[in-house]
């Protein structure tokens, strides 16, 4: 004789299990951030944020890494944004299905799935060695730019698609050309959505380690030009933690890193949310 559980009972059991697993997941995720913050907040001080790094990170602050991260990220975004937004404009406004569109989309989708260590290898051999840019802010940001192009393409594409067709028709009926319509109607309307993509790209660039450690290097000096080597926050944190240089400083650096990234992603989320409410 087999024992069968009725549908009502199995429904209740399933519900409880699903709820428990969801709660565990959320707790784990919060625990990770909470644990870093709990140990890291004590390390934060004005001095930590504005002092040079001394004795490989055992003493002093993280100012060179903050500035290095800023340079690398800003430069990456400056390079990637026109390429990503341009691609998205072309995809939505100039292609009507067809092979060309499929090829371009496929390229973006595949590039999005490439792991960061592959970007690291590529940036190392292409930018650092072949183009002789050395370990530098420029090599790092070019590598990151390639990495975040798909994020910007995908988000901008959705945003541009969401602009109602009637907007374009009104522009054409007033005698606007295609380029004018894109420049004066489509892009301004989809701007919040496009910005979301750019900001998500910023978040990805700031948190990246494997792709920048072999392209921007890990020099602790204060960067002076785009040809200086630098150590971004994520790389500095990685080296502090892995080589056991200073756990206190590692917690402090991680806290700064997480706060920046949560803030950046939160801004991106809010922007997208407001944009979606307006056009979907």
């Amino acid at each position: 004789m087999t024992f069968r559980i009725g549908p009502r009972t199995s429904q209740i059991i399933a519900y409880i299990i699903l709820l428990l697993m969801t709660i565990i997941t959320i707790i784990v995720l919060f625990f990770i951030i909470g644990y870093v913050f709990k140990n890291g907040f004590a390390q934060l001080s004005l001095e930590f944020l504005t002092d040079r790094t001394r004795e490989m990170g055992k003493e002093g602050g993280i100012l060179p890494s903050i500035i290095g991260t800023l340079f690398v990220t800003v430069l990456a975004v400056i390079i990637a944004t026109p390429l990503g937004v341009g691609s998205a404009v072309y995809l939505v406004e100039y292609t009507r299905g067809g092979l060309l569109r499929r090829i371009i989309s496929f390229g973006a989708d595949c590039l999005a799935g490439v792991p960061s260590i592959i970007f690291g290898l590529f940036g190392f051999i292409f930018f650092v060695i072949q183009l002789k840019l050395g370990w530098s802010i420029l090599s790092g940001s070019l590598t990151l730019a390639v990495m975040i192009i798909p994020t910007i393409i995908r988000t901008s594409e959705e945003a541009i698609k969401a602009v109602p067709l009637s907007y374009r028709e009104i522009s054409y009926s007033l005698g606007g050309g295609k380029l004018d319509t894109i420049w004066k109607v489509v892009l301004p309307t989809s701007l919040p959505g496009i910005l979301t993509g750019v900001i998500l790209g910023i978040g990805r660039a700031i948190g990246e380690t494997a792709a920048v450690i072999f392209t921007a290097g890990s020099s602790l000096g204060m960067p002076t030009s785009v040809f200086s080597s630098t150590r971004t926050l994520a790389v500095h944190f990685y080296i502090l933690a892995r080589e056991g240089i200073s756990m206190e400083k590692a917690y402090g650096t991680a806290t700064v890193l997480i706060i920046i990234i949560l803030f950046v992603n939160f801004v991106a989320y809010r922007l997208m949310h407001r944009f979606m409410e307006r056009y979907y």
Partner: protein
């Protein structure tokens, strides 16, 4: 005239993604593949990785990568699917609206942070409670499993929500419970999205580098149990690229080429399964 130039320029820009992909493929292969021919496939797929003696066998790392990836899926799939099903079918709009963005925000946490948590909490925990060095297949699997959760939750959730409501109504009208509807109707209907989420998560686990280096122990031998140290393809590249020269560096690119092929195949399957964008 201006419109024509703009269109040509945009077309050129639009090839930036696929162009970069080709450039990456070219350079990784150009650096790595000649070495494979030089040393022969049997050396490349052997067990012995000893760069100073000209032995570049990556088999133990392939097995290492495979073990931690399977481990990550064992941890990530049940929890990821449970979250997705709970959020999509069993929770109120309020809960959905709060938890979904939180899980997605957490996808942005850098991988080094996960690795760090592994070092300070998970590794000591495994060492004291299960034995072994702590740096292990188990630690890597758990950390990677957590890291791929947001990918699995997000894509599975979207495909569950995309199942038309008429399916649910029809099922309830026949007297089925919510759980029966989920198992018999919604999961099969959302299958392709769920599979795509899992494949993308798998790609992320295989390709993850920094978090794995920090918790895997990186010993160059095939682990006998899940408590043993393990070395993956990605960690070998990252650990040795800094000082490798000549054939050794080429061998790391060959590792990269192998990894790149595997990941690209996974990506293509995921894109195919969802019929993305079209």
């Amino acid at each position: 005239m201006k419109d024509k130039i703009a269109e040509k320029l945009l077309l050129f820009i639009a090839f930036s993604a696929i162009g970069s992909l080709l450039l990456i493929t070219f350079f990784i292969f150009q650096q790595g593949i000649p070495l494979i021919f030089k040393i022969g496939l049997s050396n490349f797929f052997s067990m012995h990785w000893s760069p100073t003696r000209g032995q570049f066998g990556i088999l133990s790392m392939i097995i290492g990568s495979l073990m931690v990836t399977v481990g990550a899926l064992i941890v990530g799939i049940p929890f990821g699917l449970a979250c997705a099903i709970y959020l999509a079918e069993f929770s109120s709009k309020m809960v959905q609206k709060t938890l979904k963005p939180i899980i997605e925000l957490l996808a942005g946490i850098p991988s080094v942070v996960y690795g760090f948590i592994g070092i300070v909490i998970l590794v000591p925990f495994i060492r004291t409670h299960f034995g072994g060095p702590g740096f292990s297949v188990l630690a890597s699997s758990i950390i990677l499993g957590i890291m791929i959760l947001p990918t699995i939750v997000s894509i599975s959730y979207d495909s569950l929500v995309a199942v038309p409501n008429t399916y649910r109504e029809g099922s309830y009208a026949l007297g089925a419970t919510k759980w029966q509807t989920v198992v018999k109707l919604l999961i099969p209907a959302a299958r392709s999205g769920i599979v795509a989420g899992i494949i993308l998560g798998m790609g992320r686990a295989i390709g993850e580098t920094m978090a794995v280096i920090m918790v895997a122990g990186n010993a160059l031998k095939i682990p006998h149990s899940i408590l043993d140290s393990v070395r993956t393809l990605t960690s070998t590249i990252a650990l040795e690229l800094g000082y490798a020269t000549g054939d050794h560096r080429a061998a790391l690119f060959a590792c990269g080429a192998f990894l790149f092929i595997i990941i690209t195949i996974l990506n293509i399957i995921a894109i195919r399964v969802t019929g993305h964008r079209e």
